[in-house]
Assembly symmetry: C2
Homo-oligomer: 351 residues x 2
Amino acid sequence: KTVRATTEHQHLRYNPLRDTWVLVSAHRMKRPWSGQVEKEEEDQVPQHDPNNPLCPGNTRANGEVNPDYNNTFVFENDFPALQPNAPDPGYNQHPLFQSKAARGVCKVMCFHPWSDVTLPLMTLPDIIKVIDKWAELMVDLGSTYPWVQIFENKGAMMGCSNPHPHCQVWASNFLPNEATLSDRCQREYLKTHGEPLLLQYAKMEAEKQERVVVQNADWLAVVPYWATWPFQTLLLPRRHVQRLTNLTAQEREGLASIMKRLLTKYDNLFQISFPYSMGWHGAPTGPYLKEDQFHWQLHAHYYPPLLRSAGVRKFMVGYEMLAQEQRDLTPEQVIHLGNSITATYAIYKHR
Amino acid sequence: KTVRATTEHQHLRYNPLRDTWVLVSAHRMKRPWSGQVEKEEEDQVPQHDPNNPLCPGNTRANGEVNPDYNNTFVFENDFPALQPNAPDPGYNQHPLFQSKAARGVCKVMCFHPWSDVTLPLMTLPDIIKVIDKWAELMVDLGSTYPWVQIFENKGAMMGCSNPHPHCQVWASNFLPNEATLSDRCQREYLKTHGEPLLLQYAKMEAEKQERVVVQNADWLAVVPYWATWPFQTLLLPRRHVQRLTNLTAQEREGLASIMKRLLTKYDNLFQISFPYSMGWHGAPTGPYLKEDQFHWQLHAHYYPPLLRSAGVRKFMVGYEMLAQEQRDLTPEQVIHLGNSITATYAIYKHR
Ligand SMILES: O=P(O)(O)O[C@H]1O[C@H](CO)[C@@H](O)[C@H](O)[C@H]1O
Ligand SMILES: O=P(O)(O)O[C@H]1O[C@H](CO)[C@@H](O)[C@H](O)[C@H]1O
């Protein structure tokens, strides 16, 4: 009865990482769609484009010439949202007109010298180089900045303006909203339940095997019980790991492997280069390196926008912006849909 | 010095209605854009389309025939995210796997019998009929449901799948996340500062005249100090009004007039039918009707997605989803940009 109920009616699910609820309307996939259809991504990206500022050997907006790099390449964003030297906006403010100084740095990290690959199409050794570089940046920027946000916007639909495989790293002198919220939720969970939230969650999902997409000895990728985006996933280590920098060599290999499988599965689902925004959350850094962060468990969020096909996305609009996030199928229905999709080789041959 | 600072560097601003911060990076409008460009909206919408289920006299998905309506028309959404009879998902749950029953009703409200008009192109008497119908629905649904969310998704870019002018009304047996958050913030503000948050805010913005877009005797539309979307606005009554149902006849007239002017200004900005999601927030209803809700002030949020032109939108993606919302120009820069745009007649002639 409960199973029937959750596939034919709506219910609410609690997101313990954000202390919010999501409205799960299982029956809504039956709705016909006559709205916006996304245009196909341009599939003709050359391996090397002499005009692309992210390719090896090319000149960027500020006149600098990229080296002839072989694997990853990191440079300062030429149009950074965060600069190191911003002045303080002022003091003695009214509670309704509060501002604060924000300082930081924005970097861009190319994954590979070729423009026509993506993470799932790269070799494991090349993906490991990406992970090592992530950890290196966390050490460097995390030595002073309290929060270092590594994130990838993939696909034009997710605001990505350059097809070359890359991610961004924005470090700030403040804890962003999402970091503050996740910190509070994990801290309170440990206090109340005696175990780190996501460590316990990973164990339970590994046992249940109801929402697992891919797994290996050290990692687990699940559609979280409280997923908001239709094909949202949460990537979790099995061991208690607080930061990317704490991963062992074996865990980095396992991470490269599970990322490749997860992203291959995404690409194969609708046979396109699957768009998403993803990013890492781990214990805060800088001054927090000296504090107890036992409540934190490292994890990555994948937020893909598609709902039904390569062309039909989920719109998080009116009700979602003004009232509450809403999804049109249950996480368990997603697992059912995805069961027949292979993670081991690319059906969709990128370009 | 402070003025120079805030147009050439980033800073943070506090949103007192959501207890969050927004990263304001004034200098980022200089960034070139080579990403996704939105396609133009189809401009050839006939006044009456025999196949459009929202037009008068047509048959909807469930076989019902629409009346030959003259102004507004309300019907039950044929694919509702909220149904009145959903079963309880179960009891005795683990803290990481919590679900709750959700019950409610979803209605669609057509603004006008013609498909080729929008609110800013309608006459004041016809807009007043929309406002009266909103208030009527608030009375009906609000008699039992604690939250009645009135919202409009306008434009394909905002997930709207039917060009006929309409909004939606979703009533639920729970307070959605955004309602809970706004309730808490307004309640705490009253307690600490002795005056309703938005009442004080409207007074101060009316005095400062730094972020006012349009105003009249009873209403004020501002780009809030903490705006997230580039052209976001907040519509506020000058008097302390807790719910749509409490508006006097004169205030409804004033509301029709200011809405028409605000939306005309939006359309004229990029000379298109401006896309947005908007919605009303007021004191909760149902069981809350008997409680003190003095901290609440009625208001409408307008969240438009565009950034630079009819084709270039702001993407709230990687950093925004995983860390914190970020904007590329200050609210004061928006006012400056908008100063030369008329609110009194449509430069952009819709269709
Ligand atoms: O109900 P509609 O207009 O078909 O659907 C639209 O608005 C809903 C409420 O904001 C969203 O959940 C949908 O994703 C969107 O496409
Ligand atoms: O920096 P990019 O890739 O040009 O820009 C993209 O990612 C940023 C960070 O999520 C967003 O603020 C932008 O709206 C988006 O277009």
